[in-house]
């Protein structure tokens, strides 16, 4: 492979999908837990999910479920939820931005060999949400 840049975002027909800072590093970390013979397939799986999401095609609840709560926006009565892009056992947590039109941000990826959503993952998404939605980072 040639030495070029890794793109932090992908623009499809309907949405832009952006990796938050260190999100790709977390993917590389998560994929280390996968059998080396299957790693390429997992990367391809994530590429396909991102392309479908960005293309504006519906995603199933099985592979794109709603997970924990995002922080509450100022003046908003309730908090929205973030989603998980599932390619078991890897998940990428993401949310649809209200600040940046038609943009999904992928907070980070985890190797998830457990069922319940961890507080540490919710907190990581929340931190990224605050940085991007309230402090204007990464855009």
């Amino acid at each position: 492979m040639t030495a070029g840049n890794i793109k932090g975002e992908y623009v499809g027909a309907s949405f832009r999908v952006v990796h938050c800072k260190k999100a790709l590093e977390s993917f590389r970390e998560a994929i280390k837990h996968i059998d080396s013979r299957k790693r390429n397939s997992f990367s391809r799986g994530m590429v396909l999910q991102i392309e479908r999401l960005a293309g504006g095609q519906r995603m199933s609840k099985d592979n794109f479920p709603q997970e924990g709560l995002l922080p509450k926006r100022k003046g908003s009565a309730s908090a929205k939820k973030f989603n998980a892009m599932k390619r078991l056992p890897i998940r990428g947590y993401c949310w649809l931005s209200e600040e940046h039109k038609n943009t999904y941000f992928i907070s980070h990826y985890v190797y998830k060999n457990y069922t319940k959503l961890k507080d540490s993952d919710t907190n990581k998404v929340k931190k990224n949400w605050v940085r991007i939605e309230e402090q204007g980072h990464e855009c």
């Binding site: 492979m1 040639t2 030495a3 070029g4 840049n5 890794i6 793109k7 932090g8 975002e9 992908y10 623009v11 499809g12 027909a13 999908v17 990796h19 790709l24 993917f27 390429n40 397939s41 990367s43 391809r44 799986g45 994530m46 590429v47 396909l48 999910q49 991102i50 392309e51 479908r52 960005a54 095609q57 519906r58 995603m59 199933s60 609840k61 099985d62 592979n63 078991l88």
Partner: protein
């Protein structure tokens, strides 16, 4: 541009075998995703689907996760049991490129429909068919 550029270095070249694997997984992923959406829309659980198919729950789970190969025959059986009709379009890649380019440039209804046709499962149910299948499964 492809979302591949998010995971692989820009300009990375893929072997024919890698491109083939991508194409295969793209079809499997999009078909299984469309089947899952039909299940959601019809309110049919995987358990119910396995019962309609006369197969085990794990067979259905594995097939819909892409872990088990889905043959055209088993896709047809799934669609038949759900009362939907699969529609397969085989398009030369050059046509798809034109459709995608047109879609990117203009907000054309025609191009939108052409783009949508990449989906394999047509989610229009024949009410009589659905009823008859449910009646059979009961």
């Amino acid at each position: 541009m492809s979302a591949k550029d998010m995971f692989y270095q820009e300009g990375a070249e893929f072997s024919n075998a890698e491109e083939k694997a991508f194409a295969r997984e793209e079809l499997v992923y999009n078909v299984t995703e469309d089947v899952l959406l039909v299940l959601e829309d019809l309110g049919v659980s995987k358990k119910e689907l396995s019962s309609r198919l006369g197969k085990s729950r794990s067979y259905v789970t594995q097939m819909l996760s892409g872990a088990r190969n889905m043959t055209l025959g088993s896709l047809s059986d799934i669609c038949f049991s759900l009362g939907v009709k699969p529609k397969v379009n085989i398009l030369p890649e050059s046509i798809l490129d034109q459709v995608n380019a047109h879609w990117a440039k203009a907000d054309s209804h025609v191009s939108y429909n052409a783009m949508r046709s990449v989906n394999v499962i047509e989610c229009q149910n024949d009410p009589e068919w659905v009823t008859s299948r449910v009646a059979v499964s009961l």
